[in-house]
């Protein structure tokens, strides 16, 4: 089947197997490997992207469901400058170690700050509950999001 999905502002169009997951569409069809796959049970959040503005786990969405939609991935985050405020925040606060969870964290945090530009630490923790990080222990991720909020993400 054919799908047309706008990814980071660019219209993409591919002939795909109907069962293709959005994450594989991004990684394998488009070569956008910034979005990661960490699990097969939709627990880890490494694959989080924005679909029409909402954070979704792209391993649980069929590319076909995104047909006609707009997807934002980590590669598009800094479109308007060298780095988005959240990326700056993660860098400054040491919000990542191995970096594998980071693209998903950034996208989940993007949605979080859009909905709540000035979250408390508890709200940040709740907002990122669906994203696992095995390296950082989360405290610096919380700090990173707080920093970004202060800068106005």
């Amino acid at each position: 089947m054919k799908v047309r999905i706008t990814v980071n502002g660019t219209l993409t169009e591919r002939e795909i197997e109907p069962r293709t997951l959005l994450v594989h569409y991004l990684r394998d069809e488009l070569g956008l490997t910034g979005t990661h796959v960490g699990c097969d049970t939709s627990n880890c959040g490494a694959c989080t992207v924005l679909l029409d503005g909402d954070a979704v786990k792209s391993c649980t969405v069929l590319a076909a469901q995104a047909d006609g939609g707009a997807v934002a991935t980590v590669e598009g985050l800094a479109a308007s400058g060298p780095l988005a405020a959240l990326q700056e925040g993660f860098w400054e606060a040491h919000g990542l170690q191995c970096g594998f969870c980071t693209p998903g964290m950034l996208m989940a945090a993007t949605q979080l700050l859009r909905r709540n530009p000035d979250p408390t630490d508890a709200e940040i923790r709740r907002g990122l509950e669906g994203n696992l990080c095995r390296c950082t222990g989360y405290a610096n991720i919380v700090r990173a999001v707080r920093l970004a909020a202060r800068k106005g993400a």
Partner: protein
């Protein structure tokens, strides 16, 4: 120029990671690349009667399906165990694909290769394997009992190895003891769960027999060496690249069956093959950590001084000896004396085969088990003798003026002040205030408060050759570095260690910038490719700074010595009077007499060699190898303050403080990050994680839906403070920090929970301390029941 050692510099590896432009193994794209997947045994032991792949082979896109027999010509030797030379180790052959018998759920039986992910997943469903299930060996006590079914039919029993040690005065000390604490302590089975799944891409060029491998590994050089040996390829024809690696925690310190099988398939097919694990495979095929039982008794005086300890440790190897599996409890043995003065120790360790996924190093590797045992003992002794747990520790902690101190296991602690870290921690948490609050809460009803301590010392910087060779370990665990000053004065450092999140590029740059007196930004650090890195042992055992950093220092020093000669020639001074700083080399005491670092660089490289001393060879480059003389010994005090709801058994960590003496801290931002992550993994073991097996050898809750890797909601902020006594084992003064959290943290949390319930008579709860277990411990203590019936498992997990 401001000091760069000790600066919390932002990491230079981050820009590629936060923009999605880093390349992990699964991101590698090669023309014509095929995808592999494994058919795995659904049974713990089963004889493989036959494999029928005809239906699978007929599916579109399927390129090949191979069993052990199909690929047997490709492997020249079974998978390695680094402790193979230990005379008391039995090491049955472990092949990349099961030969005749599958020994645990998840044991790979066949590799399937197809032209897409979808095709290969369709195909593995269609491979029909006729299994004859065999009786499973699961429980450790049962496994060592006479008459137990055997995991390896050609061995006499299920003992992988035995290790025994006894000092002279143990029996006498027990005979004299005022009090003996006796316990059985359990370590549950943990699943490392790095968030990047294991992955390997193998590309074989038939024309010249070159095998190039990208792998999510902590040990590219070891993987290269073993792959060439196992596959019978000339070593110079194998190249292993560890690209970006997404966490390891020991789980990628391995030569896995899937690595070798994927390489063999690529060689056989002459096409690139990629295998990326599904998360569910993490639970049955990535090595696990920790599981074991420890029967311990410890002799104490009435005043709380420990005078002897006896340990019988059954350590679960799972179905095979992995690369370092048997050595894990030996590492634990080394630190069994802890930071305490007692020098009488009797230890008997048995590695036990079971029909479960093999175990090996998981962050801390043996040392968390040993520390848990000791720190639980300290609290148990305090409770049984009616003493304060802090006083018992004070009574036993080695004093600063007793160091260097040689322990019952032959470790010589060379620097540290254990009392000082304890004092700092006590002050920071207001211990007296917490005890008052605890008492008043007990009066008032409602949530209970507990304080748990862990005063620890660990052995890091793996490892002195003396230690490895005297213990029959099969490698010298040195590290290497190459330092090259380029034409422009930029410096390239190539390390033999192999980071997977630790920030080597930043830390090692800081070390070089500090020594060479140049900006950090002009130093770059490369790693992970066996083709251009000097042979190195990799990243594990908190060794990259302590051992790898020292190799960098030595290589740096050699290059600087040469630069000094050139500068002295130009400045007409003695080389020993030349100092480095502010991007220059200058005469000590006369800073205006100097020459730019970049000018010396140019002179030695492409520039006119006119400025070089007569006869000196061009170039500014040196390679150094460092094999440490001693371990390094991080130590400190961790304190956990926990609230327990007696109605629900729920535990909330109110405060967690880590005071760590990890020697000199090069980058506090990175160091704190290591503490945070390690402590959270320790909390995870104490409260959440467990992979139990049923009597048939089926893992229970083997997915991220049930196995409770903590989320951001489950854990508190961690307070981290550093106390510094420099390590004499290396010029940096560092002791290593990667594992302090998991080594120290678990008993601090468990001690806190049990401390909260101590007035009810609760003395023991097996990990993980899930609400049902805590609740039951309270109930049974209240009804005067035994305080120790909680051996059964199966309550871990998210639902708890």
């Amino acid at each position: 120029m401001a000091a760069v050692i000790g600066q919390p510099l932002k990491r230079r590896e981050d820009p590629r990671l936060i923009t999605g432009s880093a390349t992990y193994t699964d991101d590698v794209r090669l023309p014509g690349m095929l995808q592999a997947a494994f058919v795995r045994s659904p049974h713990a032991p089963a004889r493989i009667r036959s494999v029928d792949a005809s239906a699978a082979r007929a599916l579109p896109g399927v390129v090949g399906i191979f069993t052990h027999e199909d690929l047997a010509d490709f492997w020249k030797a079974p998978l390695p165990c680094a402790w193979g030379a230990y005379p008391l180790l039995k090491n049955p052959a472990h092949w990349p694909l099961a030969k005749g018998v599958a020994r645990h759920v998840g044991d790979p039986v066949a590799i399937v290769v197809a032209d897409s992910r979808a095709a290969v997943h369709d195909a593995i469903q269609q491979v029909r394997v006729d299994y004859e299930p065999l009786p499973a060996v699961v429980d450790l006590d049962a496994a060592v009992a006479p008459g137990s079914p055997r995991v390896h039919e050609d061995l006499a029993d299920n003992i992988s190895f035995t290790f025994d040690h006894k000092t002279d005065g143990v029996d006498a000390a027990f005979a004299r003891a005022d009090h003996v604490v006796r316990r059985r302590l359990r370590q549950q089975r943990l699943v490392p769960n790095a968030i990047e799944p294991r992955a390997v891409v193998a590309d074989y060029r038939r024309a010249d027999g070159q095998l190039t491998v990208w792998a999510a590994t902590q040990i590219p050089h070891l993987l290269k060496i073993f792959s060439s040996g196992l596959l019978g390829l000339p070593e110079q024809r194998v190249r292993v690249i560890a690209p970006e690696v997404g966490g390891g925690f020991g789980s990628k310190l391995q030569v896995y069956p899937e690595d070798i099988a994927t390489m063999a398939a690529a060689i056989h097919l002459g096409r690139p093959v990629r295998w990326t694990m599904d998360r569910r495979e993490e639970f049955t095929s990535t090595h696990h950590g920790r599981e074991g039982v420890m029967d311990v008794e410890a002799a104490f005086t009435r005043g709380g001084e420990m005078t002897a300890m006896r340990v019988n440790w059954l350590s679960d190897m799972g179905a095979y000896n992995m690369l370092n599996g048997p050595f894990v409890p030996i590492l634990g043995f080394l630190v069994l004396p802890g930071p305490y003065r007692n020098r009488e120790l009797e230890a008997h360790i048995k590695g036990v085969f079971t029909n479960k996924t093999p175990t090996d190093a998981y962050r801390g590797a043996g040392r968390p088990e040993a520390t848990y045992l000791l720190e639980r003992l300290m609290d148990l002794a305090a409770a049984e003798l009616g003493l304060d747990p802090v006083d018992v520790r004070r009574r036993n902690l080695i004093r600063h003026d007793e160091i260097p101190f040689t322990t019952a296991t032959g470790m010589t602690y060379d620097a540290g002040d254990y009392h000082a870290t304890l004092d700092l921690a006590l002050k920071a948490i207001d211990y007296a205030g917490l005890r008052r609050e605890q008492a008043s809460r007990r009066q008032a009803g409602g949530k209970l408060l507990g304080v748990g301590f862990s005063t620890y010392v660990e052995a890091c910087g793996l490892a002195p050759s003396r230690a490895t060779s005297s213990s029959a370990y099969g490698a010298h665990l040195y590290e290497s570095a190459l330092v090259r000053v380029q034409q422009s004065g930029a410096v390239t450092v190539i390390t033999g260690s192999s980071p997977h999140g630790q920030g080597h590029e930043t830390t090692l740059s800081q070390i070089v910038a500090d020594r060479m007196g140049i900006p950090v930004d002009s130093v770059e650090v490369l790693h992970g490719d066996t083709q251009n890195t000097p042979i190195g042992l990799g990243t594990y055992g908190s060794r990259s700074l302590v051992v790898g950093g020292q190799a960098v220092v030595q290589a740096c020093t050699r290059v600087q010595d040469k630069m000094r000669l050139i500068a002295a020639h130009k400045l007409e001074c003695r080389p020993e009077d030349v100092a480095f700083g502010d991007g220059r080399l200058f005469v000590q005491g006369a800073p205006t007499r100097g020459v730019a670092f970049a000018e010396i660089a140019a002179t030695a490289n492409l520039g006119s060699h006119a400025g070089m001393p007569e006869g000196m060879e061009p170039g500014l480059e040196a390679t150094a190898y460092f094999s440490p003389e001693n371990f390094s010994f991080p130590a400190g005090t961790h304190v956990c303050v926990a609230e327990v709801d007696p109605e629900t058994g729920r535990v909330r960590i109110r405060r967690y403080l880590a005071v760590d003496d990890v020697g000199v801290v090069v980058n506090p931002l990175i160091a704190e990050g290591q503490v945070h992550g390690g402590v959270v993994q320790a909390i995870a073991q104490a409260l959440f994680e467990d992979l139990p097996y049923d009597a048939d050898g089926q893992p229970l809750g083997a997915s991220l839906m049930e196995y409770a890797v903590p989320t951001s909601m489950d854990v508190p902020d961690i307070e981290s403070a550093f106390f510094v006594t420099p390590s004499p084992s290396n010029a940096i003064g560092a002791k290593g920090i990667g594992e302090t959290g998991t080594i120290a943290g678990t008993p601090a949390v468990v001690n806190a929970v049990i401390d909260a319930l101590a007035h009810l008579g609760v003395r023991d709860i097996d990990m993980p301390l899930t609400p049902p277990r805590v609740w039951r411990a309270i109930r049974e203590a209240g009804t005067g029941g035994s305080s120790r019936p909680f051996a059964e498992s199966g309550e871990g997990g998210r639902s708890a």
